[in-house]
């Protein structure tokens, strides 16, 4: 059964960068990886350095608009599955799936129900999933993914950022999705805020598993819009994510 790791956090904290670096780490091994971009506001594909033209949102729209034009006895599950396989971007070391835009008006109960069944089987084909998830965790509450082994909340150094981590923990309690572990990674950490972050995390009872330092190389690439996937091994951010990956047993 695939291990499902979801990386979340509020916008701008660096969860997409963290996801990309975790994938970078995993791609060096032999595990079969599925990377999922589940946040319509971010750009995991670009951060990884690949292009994705179509998303699950697009194929859901396709199923919605074409359903009366398909032959009446079409097996819609089989069509949806094929369309889904078509949009999976197959990179040399990992597959990438983009959830894409939110649903339009109308009822998506049926197509979501089909999708859940298809995703359950698809996930079984991988050893590990890294999901870059928006903070509302919509795809989990919709049960497109039924469980999460490790939920990683990425936060910046602010108290507010750590507060978000706490809120996400509360959200998880309300959801039906089964979440085994919740961890926090502090990002953009400097020497001045390092101790304060550690203390605040402790205060809030959050399990802090890593502190990614401010990394000039990451900043440069972000500015230039270049992927982070090919950062050199001696990048401070890469090195810290490697340490985190070891702690997570990846």
């Amino acid at each position: 059964m695939a291990r499902i790791i979801a990386v979340t956090g509020k916008g701008g904290t660096g969860k997409t960068a963290t996801s990309a670096l975790l994938i970078r780490h995993l791609a060096k091994g032999n595990k079969v990886i599925l990377a999922v971009d589940a946040d319509p506001d971010t750009n995991l594909p670009e951060t990884l350095g690949c292009e994705v033209s179509k998303t699950i949102g697009d194929i859901k729209e396709f199923m919605h608009s074409e359903r009366d034009n398909l032959p009446p006895d079409t097996n819609k599950e089989s069509v949806l599955k094929s369309k889904l396989y078509e949009i999976i971007e197959e990179m040399p070391k990992y597959d990438l799936l983009v959830m894409g835009r939110p649903e339009g008006a109308g009822c998506y109960c049926y197509v979501n129900n089909l999708l859940r069944g298809i995703m359950d089987k698809l996930v079984d084909n991988y050893d590990i999933l890294i999901i870059d998830a928006e903070a509302g965790l919509e795809h989990f509450s919709r049960r497109i993914f039924r469980k999460v082994d490790d939920l990683i909340v990425v936060t910046d150094g602010s108290r507010r950022g750590l507060g978000t981590a706490e809120r996400i923990r509360e959200l998880v309690d309300e959801m039906k999705t089964d979440v085994s572990n919740i961890y926090v990674i502090a990002n953009k950490v400097t020497e001045t805020n390092r101790e304060m972050i550690a203390n605040t995390a402790k205060e809030l009872g959050l399990q802090l598993i890593g502190m990614i330092p401010v990394d000039e190389m990451v900043i440069q690439r972000d500015l230039a819009g270049e992927p982070l996937f090919n950062l050199p091994d001696d990048s401070a951010a890469v090195m810290e994510v490697e340490r985190i990956a070891v702690k997570l047993g990846l």
């Binding site: 079969v32 819609k76 078509e86 109308g106 049926y110 084909n125």
Partner: protein, 473 residues
Amino acid sequence: MADEFPFEISPMFEGERIRKEGMHVELAGPKSKGFELVRAADMNDVEDGRFTLIGPDLSDMEEGSRYPFAMIYKIAGELVETDLESIVERRNHEFQNYIQGMMHLNQRDDVWIRVGKEAVSKGLNSFEHIAKAVMMLFKNELPFIEKVEAIYITDMSEIEKEIDNTRAVYKARDERTRGLHDEDVDTFYGCTLCASFAPTNVCVVTPDRISLCGAINWFDGRAAAKVDPEGPQFAIPKGELIDDASGEYSGVNEFAKKLSSGEYDRIKLHSFFEFPHTSCGCFEVVGFYIPEVDGIGWVDRDFAGTAPNGLQFSTMAGQTGGGKQVVGFLGIGVNYFRSPKFIQSDGGWNRVVWMPRMLKEKIFQDIPEDIRAKIATEDDAKDIESLKSFLTAKNHPILERWVEEEAEEEAEEEVPAKAQPATQRGFAAPQMMQMPANFMPSMPMMGGGSGGVRIILKNAKVTVEKITILKED
């Protein structure tokens, strides 16, 4: 039995995905061409177990390459008939996926197949292995097939030669499928996907009635119920036919009681006024009775304006939704307009007087020709008065009802003990024209058997000089 093949065969391989990296060859699919086709043939025309390959075999295909691919199976047997072709064809998908190291996706001329490297390295080097395995499964699992032979094509020009014929076969099949009606089947399907927000909803899907959300047709219900009978879609044995015109079945009524937890015990599938289908919350279109013209208007989710009754889709949906059986409103899926049984017990299309232009354009071809021009849109009528003028000018069949109703009223006036004042009833009532925005139209007196009248007035201002209600002798 499986020992003779260089691969394992089991349903457990069904979900197996072959990634680009692990793939030896890709066949057909979105970047190439192909199809699968099952044809019923005469016993003499099928050589049992025979396999023919036109084009290069697996062993000729380089790792990582892509080829067009067609699979034709000829089947014969005493019980084999053309109608079974598509059912058998669907099983090709399943059986090829049972083969370890094979991935078969989609259907018909959208098929997409991959053969894994690992399977090839274990000795899968000819399509003959695959075809023989599938033919074996056909005969084992579908005993009515007495003889089967397979022809696989991997040559583009040969596939192109065949593809038009194949598409013609698909098209003929679709036409037959579209000709399937409620009376042709003994099972309908129910769906509870909406049950969380419409707990008393009773969704019944039949060949002539698509689900209200528009997503589930009878075939979808059948497919889902077969895979998981306890799932959200399940079989409803239709039972005895109680009334043909309105589509009332004993089996549906029994399920109505069960699914609505006793709230409703009768549902007439093709009726607007009497025991109509419940409305979930996901319906694409809502129908509304317009008492002033004794007709029915329809408004869809995409129409943001107000219907001639002064209400918007959202308002009507709010009052109707949640799984209620509300006489005077009815939620439907767009495809129900295409049903030959469309509200047939209430006059069908002859009762339809208004719908938004976009919706009308969408289903234009499905509206009976003689009434197309007579149904008003927001361009023709924005309120009751202009709707009446339009219907009158176009000589809409609804006018016949007006005449009948007027005659009835006159008759009623002669027997004052029985009737309400004429101005209270018909479409001519002047105070009805300034309907407040959230006025819920009351229903006209229903014919016998409906067990009384329910009148709901919300925020209504009704001025009456005198009302006399007398018990009938």
